[in-house]
Symmetry: C2
Subunit: 382 residues, 2 copies
């Protein structure tokens, strides 16, 4: 290879930014596409295009700057992506993978058809079918939009019969396809990043425990404290799930660990994933570098931890405010903290503004320092 | 701090590029200044200015984009930097430090005055004084330009009396101030990165062994295999040397270890340094992040190794060719290799095009893998 391929990244958020940083280190040029100029990836991509990534015109403009395309979110219209592929674009992962994953009902049906365990679910294409689901699952159960949900958005927990109408109207069931899912009383949430190369090989990162707060990933503990047979089962399911949906590159697999020590697949993210941010500072090769290696058909890197444990904490906006928080100096006093700030234009309540990672000899050690470092960070106008 | 300070970096080469990458991770905006558009830092700096960093006009333009300034080389005219400071610019390190270090004779005089060991040296302001130096030091001895030398450029080893004229004319002693230095028959070359904060604290990275090939850093082994009392002496000298010249930020200290296990200071680099590139992948906090923390007055990060050992190998141009080498896939087959390519416009024989680092349980283990990864990399037109 005399000239390195330019990787076009659909999206310009923090995932795109961290992909650009990994690409730069490897000497791989990048181009990015986002709806606005001022976004996390803009200053670190080789060429930043402003345009709506749900339009074929904008996608074509990105393609013109790129040798192959990848993406940082699963919300890009599969139809537009398929059109690009028909025009000869190399898209990794492909539109078929995106089509399956972006419709959560179709995703679950695919996983179920492959023999993978998921919570029970059924389509609820009408208000009447919602009654049927309630009868089948009992209360509580979860009503979800099939598309465009994330971080709890697009989900509604139906606690009793009186809430059926509220859920249907809250998620606007008349205009958005919904489905219902049995409520899972899990013991913990486990995630595994799998990375599958366009050249064939597939590797996986350690199983980690993820702790959500208000439906947003808050803390990731690596590795998860699992008996080895239980971890092996999580790895088997994750690997199988990624092959099932034809994932290429880094793919996040979210699992529920039930009280009887079995797993249910919650959902997949066909891209680098928040539960894998710890890999930048804690693993021999990060999920970002491995994503690039995978889509370029290069050998995959070692996903192992460099130290026995790591903890990642998300830094969320506390309200409307600036991109750069107060408390940075206090945070950096903590030994071994890796602070990542995304350079977003503004803070909003609950918006992902950055994260930090601490590695150590045990999860408890890393967790204590990570909490101490995160505590003073505040994104708010004062 | 509500708005992060923009760091202006004088220079746009690989050191500037790696500073920009570290700044981006921390959410710190950057601006860079280099003589051309197509340079390693351009795509990763927030704003890249094209201009000659030896002119006050170009430096003023960079200052206008920045809250404080730093640099990636010691060749910027100290007069221009002093002028900038008179105009109110914050420059870290300051022009006084640059003035002392960029004149190698003045640098050695300062170190000597502080009681630090250096090879014997003397000014040779005329051809007659060169004869005096030859008499004093015997043969071989080294003739050096006081300014602008690097990677062996600007040095001439005088093997016998017949070479005196050749050395004088090769280094153009009539037009460039020279000095002479006793030839040091060292056992090994040791380097230590020291990082000194503008807020006071000073830390140091492990002592490493550097192996040069054709006067260019080729391999860095971390840590150097030194008895602890010997390492402690190296650390004492390095720390003292950096305070002596008022270094701020990361400063490279190059030492000769003599056969009687004492040290002589070879030279200082008032900036991030090739001998510290291993710290990106091998240490809790890299020389680049610590440089930024230091110039911003933030707490310094842990300079310790995350694994017992690391080896860095420079990837040099094999001849005129492209920026992206052949052999990347073969290199990435090697377990744990961290490949860094600088995205320079063209390869030239001996030009620093990238580096790679491997961490491991021992220097021997890391060295074997690093050599195996570097072996297939070729920067040349085929």
């Amino acid at each position: 290879m005399k000239k390195p391929p330019t990787v076009g990244i659909i999206g310009g958020g923090q995932l795109s930014r961290m992909l650009c940083l990994a690409a730069t280190q490897l000497g791989i040029p990048t181009a990015t596409l986002e709806r606005k100029q001022n976004c996390p990836a803009a200053t670190v991509s080789g060429r930043h295009l402003v345009g709506d990534w749900n339009t074929i015109e904008a996608l074509r403009a990105l393609r013109a700057e790129s040798d192959l395309l990848t993406l940082e979110n699963e919300f890009v219209e599969a139809e537009a992506l398929e059109q690009l592929e028909r025009e000869g674009a190399i898209l990794r992962p492909g539109s078929d993978c995106l089509r399956t994953i972006q419709d959560k009902l179709l995703q679950k049906q695919s996983l179920q058809a492959a023999g993978l365990p998921t919570p029970d679910f059924q389509a609820t294409d009408s208000r009447a079918e919602l009654d049927g689901a309630a009868e089948r699952f009992g209360y509580p159960f979860v009503l979800k939009r099939r598309r465009n949900g994330y971080d709890g958005k697009g989900n509604f927990t139906v606690e009793d019969q009186a809430m059926l109408d509220e859920g249907w109207s809250e998620l606007d069931g008349e205009n958005h396809p919904l489905f219902a899912e049995a409520f899972c009383r899990f013991q913990s949430e486990i995630a595994i990043m799998v990375c599958r190369s366009s050249a064939g090989p597939q590797i996986h990162y350690p199983a980690v425990e993820t702790i959500q707060k208000n439906h947003i990933c808050h803390v990731v503990k690596a590795p998860a404290a699992l008996p080895s047979a239980v971890e092996a089962e999580a790895v088997r399911i994750a690997n199988r799930a990624v092959s099932t949906v034809s994932g290429i590159g880094s793919v996040g697999v979210e699992l529920f660990l039930t009280h009887d020590q079995t797993f249910l697949v919650n959902e997949l993210a066909p891209r680098v994933h928040n539960s894998g941010h710890y890999t930048i500072d804690a693993c021999h090769c990060s999920q970002f570098e491995n994503h690039l290696r995978a889509i370029l058909g290069l050998p995959l890197g070692n996903p192992g931890l460099v130290r026995p444990a790591a903890v990642m904490i998300n830094l969320l906006g506390d309200g409307p405010g600036r991109s750069y928080p107060s408390g940075v100096a206090e945070a950096l006093e903590v030994d071994g903290v890796h602070l990542h700030l995304y350079g977003k234009d503004r803070s909003q309540l609950g918006r992902k503004m950055g994260h930090l990672t601490v590695i150590g000899n045990s999860v408890d050690d890393a967790l204590e320092r990570a909490h101490r470092a995160a505590q003073p960070i505040r994104f708010i106008e004062t």
